[in-house]
């Protein structure tokens, strides 16, 4: 039996198709302006990846993410908080805290023993602590985001970035560059600034020994390294962390399909 989950985020649409409960196909594409169309494209590509002949063969589908209501073909919409909790726990069974950093927001979710959401917090209205903040800084520094981890490790002394407001932080970065500060400490300072905000959120819901990062920014090793130092424990990143929301949605779709049988 095929089921699917679609996560329509602000930056990317992710789709996961399960065959008998196991991941059989995935896809990720940029969100674009027509969320419904992009969601369909992503789902079709994931279905093709899974070997689904006809999309009608998908027994149940759940949509999540900011654009979830745009996915008219979904059987149900569920918030990304619940989906990341379910997907994160499925990726890492011991997870008790999920840190999800997406393009326009960040969330910290505390799970109970059964893997259900016990508490959650989200970032404030601004871009601080989000993927967009890091993207803007990467553009300013002319460094690909994928190199942040390597450059983080290349220095032991982070530059002080006092603001997490994207505009103010960008002007701080410009000021540091004009004073001849190398890009490595600036990048480490930026990762520390994001991690500072995230660590505060983690402590609000309650620190646990098993912290898992999901969402697009989890692939940025610099933020993970900074967060580990702030929390004083290891933060794990599942290999398919970007798909945690879509995977969680697919797991809920599977439960729906099984109930319907």
């Amino acid at each position: 039996m095929y089921v699917a989950g679609v996560d329509v985020g602000s930056t990317a649409v992710k789709a996961v198709v399960l065959l008998d409960g196991r991941i059989a196909g995935t896809n990720v594409i940029s969100t674009g302006t027509d969320q419904e169309k992009t969601a369909f494209q992503s789902l079709s590509a994931a279905a093709q990846d899974a070997g689904v002949v006809d999309i009608e063969d998908i027994s149940a589908m759940v949509a999540t993410g900011y654009g979830r209501s745009m996915v008219k073909m979904a059987d149900r919409t569920v918030t990304e908080i619940t989906c990341h909790a379910r997907g994160g726990r499925a990726f890492a069974e011991a997870a008790h805290v999920i840190v999800d950093i997406g393009g326009q927001d960040s969330k910290v979710i505390r799970l109970d023993e059964d893997g259900m959401v016990a508490d959650f917090v989200m970032n404030d209205k601004c871009a601080a602590g989000t993927g967009r903040f890091l993207e803007v800084m990467a553009e300013r520094l002319e460094v690909p985001l994928s190199d942040f981890g390597k450059m983080w490790r290349a220095t032991r002394k982070p530059a002080m970035i006092s603001s997490t407001c994207t505009v103010f932080a960008e002007s701080e970065v410009v000021s540091l560059l004009s004073h001849g500060v190398a890009r490595e400490p600036i990048i480490r300072g930026l990762c520390d600034a994001v991690a500072d905000r995230l660590a505060g959120m983690v402590h609000r819901v309650g620190l646990a020994t098993e912290v898992v990062m999901t969402g697009g920014v989890s692939r940025n090793d610099g933020v993970r390294l900074s967060l580990e130092r702030k929390l004083g424990l290891k933060v794990s990143v599942p290999s398919m962390s970007q798909f945690a929301g879509a995977y969680g949605a697919a797991i809920i779709a599977l439960e729906l399909a099984e109930k319907g049988r």
């Binding site: 569920v78 990304e80 908080i81 619940t82 059964d114 259900m116 959401v117 959650f120 209205k125």
Partner: protein, 427 residues
């Protein structure tokens, strides 16, 4: 274009219309006819009573029929009605500005007066509306030291602009007899000092205002009792709109009419079974206020997520019957009874009572941007509710300034909160 279709700060159609017509007596005659038509077209009696109550006060305040006294939301209005004046709350005016789409003008005007964007927008928009010239001219200002610091200071500024007397009631933290007497003496001082400064003011109506307030409280307690019914018979999203009545009309006979009509409406809903949210999944307690600009947030919560706001902190009757034979002490006692003032334990106890009385499944605090009185206690409130096993959501946002919140984010938080309660109940 600014948010909500305004053209430029201070020059929107709504602002120009207010400036031009609000002080013309004929305007209220025309408005009365419109309300009569609304009544004939099926508007509910409580809605009509509320509009008439507000219009009546507006007419008297704007046309100068009676002296107008500005107050903060926590000054008992029995004092103002009792002095023969009509109360006007700039914070409530800020809510109207948001609802009628000219908050952007008022906020812009306040910012031009050096008011920082991190001051509560209810105060910023209130003082900005004063600068725009859309508020009635005050004969005096009575502010209170309790709860909002921004309120008393912005009102002080407004009294200076208007050149009218300013009184600050210094409310003590403790509720001892000594504290109550100190506050009573301040109230008495206002009641006897103000008539010497403002024509038309007299303390002679104080006892009557207290009697009216007591009679209204009886009607209101019935409304509160009816709202304990499950499914919820009246939408909290609407109840939060009528906070304006609760904050600004005690001592006005119209308020009793409003609550009588409202009780009758709620009884009718319960009898017919036509609840606003028939398949009520959960019942929430809502702390602080709501966004008053156009938003689908409460509809999303109550209609789409089928989760009722069963009761609201700002509608909780926290005082008991007052003594008309000692009206000054009564006003003092009412102020001191406010659970938001003093140690956080007072607010926690009030929240506990509301949770028990209204069979609450979860608590949402609308964390108004810049509101110290509620946000300052958020941590202890969260801990307290956690100990009780009641899910809690601190929902950041702004009641007046649309720029201080993201509706999509707020909806996600509410959606996730409802899913959390779903999961908790399923276990």
């Amino acid at each position: 274009m600014g948010p909500r279709g305004t053209r430029s700060v201070g020059n929107s159609l709504q602002v120009r219309a207010f400036r031009r017509f609000a002080r013309k007596p004929w305007c209220y005659g025309a408005a009365k006819q419109v309300v009569d038509i609304m009544e004939r077209r099926g508007w509910k009696p409580y809605q009509i009573s509320a509009i008439r109550c507000v219009m009546d006060d507006f007419r008297q305040a704007y046309t100068g029929e009676r002296p107008c006294i500005y107050t903060t939301a926590f000054v008992p209005t029995e004092l103002v009605y009792g002095l023969g004046a009509v109360p006007f709350l700039p914070e409530v005016a800020a809510g109207y500005a948001a609802a009628f789409g000219f908050a952007y003008d008022a906020l812009g005007a306040a910012e031009s007066m050096w008011y920082s964007a991190d001051l509560c927008s209810f105060h910023r928009a209130g003082v900005g509306a004063g600068k725009l010239g859309v508020l009635p001219r005050p004969s005096a200002v009575i502010a209170t030291a309790h709860l909002c610091d921004g309120g008393k200071k912005s009102l002080h500024r407004m009294s200076k602009d208007a050149g009218c007397p300013f009184y600050l009631l210094d409310v003590p933290y403790d509720r001892s007899e000594r504290g109550q007497k100190r506050l009573r003496d301040q109230v008495e001082h206002i009641a006897f000092d103000l008539p010497e400064k403002v024509p038309g003011i007299s303390p002679e109506g104080m006892a009557e205002a207290i009697r009216v307030s007591n009679a209204t409280l009886d009607d209101y307690l019935e409304v509160c009792a009816l709202r304990q019914h499950s499914p919820s018979p009246w939408r909290g999203g609407e109840a939060l709109n009528y906070v304006v009545m609760f904050l600004g009309a005690w001592g006005n006979p119209w308020l009793a009419e409003f609550y009588k009509d409202l009780a009758s409406h709620i009884r009718g809903i319960i009898a017919s079974g036509e609840y606003p949210c028939c398949s009520e999944r959960h019942r929430l307690l809502w702390l602080n206020l709501r966004p008053y600009y156009k938003t689908g947030l409460l509809d999303y919560l109550e209609l789409e997520l089928e989760t009722s706001v069963a009761f609201e902190e700002y509608n909780w009757p926290y005082w008991s019957e007052l003594d008309p034979d000692d009206p000054f002490a009564s006003v003092a006692r009412k102020m001191l009874a406010n659970f938001g003032w003093g140690p956080i334990e007072r607010r926690l106890a009030a929240v506990d009572s509301m949770i028990d009385d209204y069979s609450i499944d979860g608590v949402v605090q609308f964390a108004q941007w810049g509101c110290r009185q509620s946000n300052g206690g958020a941590s202890m409130l969260a801990d307290h509710l956690k100990r009780r096993g009641i899910p809690f959501l601190n929902l950041g946002g702004d009641g007046v300034d649309v720029r201080n919140g993201s509706e999509a984010q707020a909806m996600t938080r509410l959606g996730a909160f409802v899913e959390l309660i779903d999961a908790k109940k399923a276990r």
